[in-house]
């Protein structure tokens, strides 16, 4: 306890940043959600739960909430499964694996905006993807315009973008699995798949949990992809909550209603995280 002053002093900048840029905003967004505020018209008033009653009646909001869940429900498993698969492959010993790691990681360093702009062209109806599909004699799709492809496109563009990061997290975890554990199981006659299920997965389960929590939280923040690829369309099919908040807050400037939506997003993310944390004991075999 002698050093608690030094400790707090050293942690202070991050703690203060947290207080002003995370804690204070969260408290204010809850307060603001009970007001109507429009900086354009200058309107500002306390209106009680009106924003929430409106939210419940807003069919658009309902559909947006549904889309948000669909988005996360596709993105998270696809992203994690592919990342783990690649991590396992790239943990094998063969020539050129560092190059492959670098290739799969490379989109992480490209900005989401740049990545999305390029994909938007690739996915255009008369773009390169359909051209190459056409070469193979098949017919492409209007990826950004015809359901269900727009949602899948947004998900996949995001998957390719961020897969590398999760892959590296998994690689780090895989490298931590003690070799002896495989050796002993090999004596027991277990095959690869059994080894993977019985040894690898349990051993890296804490990493899986952390990656899952971060990927889910990330899935609820997707914004640039939606804005630049589809603009939330066609219809509302790719309008997710984070984008809908942006539209209400910074295009319509209905900041009160946007705050209520933000509170919902906050509850979504926190709820899911707590749920995962609660059920972790059932499948996470070691503490982090």
């Amino acid at each position: 306890m002698r050093h608690w002053r030094t400790g707090l002093f050293m942690a202070a900048p991050v703690l203060l940043g947290f207080i002003f840029l995370v804690l204070y905003p969260v408290v204010s967004v809850i307060r603001d959600s009970f007001t109507s505020y429009n900086p354009l018209s200058g309107e500002a008033a306390f209106i009680g739960v009106d924003n929430y009653t409106r939210l419940i009646q807003d069919e658009t909001a309902l559909e947006v909430a549904k889309n948000t869940l669909i988005f996360a429900a596709i993105l998270v498993p696809v992203n994690m499964a592919l990342a783990l698969f690649l991590a396992v492959l790239l943990n094998l010993h063969f020539k050129g694996r560092t190059t492959f790691r670098a290739i799969f990681f490379s989109p992480v360093i490209v900005s989401t905006v740049a990545w999305t702009i390029v994909w938007k062209y690739i996915l255009q109806d008369d773009g390169p993807l359909n051209y190459f599909i056409g070469l193979s004699g098949l017919e492409g799709n209007n990826w950004l315009r015809e359901n269900p492809w727009p949602m899948i496109s947004v998900v996949m563009v995001q998957v390719f973008k961020n897969l590398g990061m999760n892959m590296i997290f998994f690689l780090a975890a895989l490298q931590g699995v003690p070799e002896e554990m495989y050796e002993s199981s090999e004596i027991d006659g277990a095959n690869r798949w059994q080894q993977f299920k019985k040894i690898t997965l349990p051993f890296i389960s804490p990493t899986i949990l952390l990656v899952a929590i971060l990927t889910i939280a990330g899935a609820f923040q997707v914004f640039a992809q939606v804005l630049l690829l589809t603009g939330g369309g066609p219809g509302l099919s790719t309008t997710v909550l984070s984008y809908y908040i942006f539209v209400n807050a910074f295009q319509i400037f209905d900041l009160g209603y946007a705050s209520a939506l933000a509170v919902c997003l906050f509850i979504f993310v926190m709820g899911l995280t707590i749920a995962q944390w609660q059920i972790r004991t059932r499948w996470v075999f070691r503490e982090v």
């Binding site: 008369d126 315009r145 910074f250 295009q251």
Partner: protein, 425 residues
């Protein structure tokens, strides 16, 4: 003693304060103390040169103006950026305002009434401005902006391409009195050739997003987005159904209009006809192929001409409102308005003279009369609404239901009304 002392200090500081405040206005008018900023959506070098020229000239007679800055913003996100500037407390002094946003900006008291300055300026001649053109900007005893571009929508066409396709020339059709949407669609269909990437008709500013521009089609069919009061949605009308069925047919049956997500470039030479505003067609002058221009085709119900407008306005949140209004009046007086003719059709009557237009723009005298003079006098301005920002996106996303081959037009249009009617009231 002490009290007296304190009083003295208080009085002294009060005087100092008053003096300081009192000096402020005087200081504001001091030489070179004001910088004005105007946002615009064009980054065209000629447009910028025009405005910079006006600014330089103005500064000569107005020493209090240090500088006038012109800020080119991206057109696609213009209103978004401008409103963010305003909401962020960093409103520009002057701004270009799109016709569709005019009512909303006015309703939110974002625009300054500049009529007093206009009337106080000798030789400004407000009455010269065609009254129809001033509609969006005018209220009793007030004018909230000057429409520096009153630009009719027209059909520009690639005569070479249409001839090669063996279709009848739009100008010929017009001369025969047969320039209708139905015939235009026939021409478009003849030109369209998917293999070559050729299309019959395109509409660059529409891009399946800026739906209010479709007024240039639906008005010929007698349709409107909402009634005159703006309180009743009329997207579900019979006329609107006809118009949208027609347009949908061009996209998906005839495949003569580029479907969503397909790029087409009229100026590159593989589109037969293009629905463009006159103010955006300046680069036709450099095209290698033969082009022509005709007014919008007649619809089954009306010969409706449609106008897009751009206004120049002073923002009420500007810190230099008076100086900004003075500059606006200067920049739009009869002599200076004449300088716009080369790029933007004007709504001051003397500048609508076909001879004047032909001398300054890419049009010849006949075209100038047909497109500009007649277009402005007959035409109506694009749809606008005081609550546009909250309606705009809903309509866009609902209309997305139309842009597929098996769309149910009447159901989609009904949905539009179901969704926006509550906001209209």
């Amino acid at each position: 003693m002490k009290v007296k002392y304190l009083k003295m200090i208080a009085t002294g500081s009060a005087i100092a304060l008053i003096a300081f405040i009192g000096i402020q206005p005087a200081k504001a008018a001091a030489k070179g103390s004001i910088t004005l900023r105007m946002t615009m959506w064009s980054s065209n070098a000629n447009h910028l040169a025009l405005f910079k020229g006006l600014a330089d000239e103005y500064k000569k007679t107005h020493p209090e103006i240090a500088d006038i800055k012109f800020e080119s913003l991206d057109f696609a996100t213009y209103t978004q950026t401008l409103t963010t500037q305003i909401a962020g407390g960093k409103a520009p002094d002057l701004a270009w305002i799109l016709e569709k946003d005019a009512q909303q900006f006015r309703k939110n008291n974002l625009l300054l009434n500049v009529l007093p300055q206009m009337q106080a300026t000798p030789g400004y001649k407000v009455e010269e401005i065609a009254s129809g053109s001033l509609g969006l900007w005018r209220a009793p005893r007030s004018v909230y902006g000057y429409p520096f571009s009153t630009s009719p929508f027209a059909i520009f066409y690639n005569a070479d391409l249409i001839k090669a396709a063996g279709a009848e020339d739009p100008e010929t059709l017009r001369a025969k009195g047969e320039w209708t949407w139905a015939n235009a669609a026939k021409v478009a269909k003849a030109v369209a050739d998917y293999e070559k990437g050729n299309y019959g008709l395109n509409y660059p500013t529409f891009n399946y997003t800026t739906w209010n521009g479709l007024a240039s089609i639906w008005r010929g069919f007698g349709a409107e987005a909402w009634d005159k009061t703006g309180k009743k949605c009329t997207f579900n009308s019979k006329q609107m159904n006809n118009a949208m069925e027609f347009f949908h047919g061009m996209i998906y049956k005839d495949k003569s209009f580029p479907a969503p997500g397909v790029s087409s470039d009229f100026f590159a030479g593989n589109v037969g006809m293009s629905l463009i505003q006159l103010s955006r067609a300046a680069n036709l002058a450099t095209m290698k192929w033969k082009w022509g221009v005709v007014p919008l085709p007649k619809g089954p119900v009306a010969d409706a001409q449609v106008i897009g407008q751009a206004g120049m306005a002073v923002l009420s949140k500007s810190k230099n409102r008076k100086a900004a209004a003075d500059f606006l009046v200067f920049a739009t007086n009869p002599e200076n308005a004449a300088k716009y003719v080369a790029f933007f059709p004007q709504s001051r009557t003397p500048l609508m003279d076909p001879k004047v237009i032909a001398a300054a723009s890419i049009l010849n005298e006949t075209q100038a009369k047909m497109i500009v003079a007649d277009g402005i006098s007959k035409g109506k301005i694009l749809t606008s609404h005081p609550k546009l920002s909250s309606i705009e996106l809903t309509v866009k996303s609902t209309l997305d239901g139309l842009w597929k081959a098996d769309a149910n037009v009447s159901e989609t249009l009904n949905q539009v009304c179901t969704k926006i009617q509550p906001s209209l009231r």
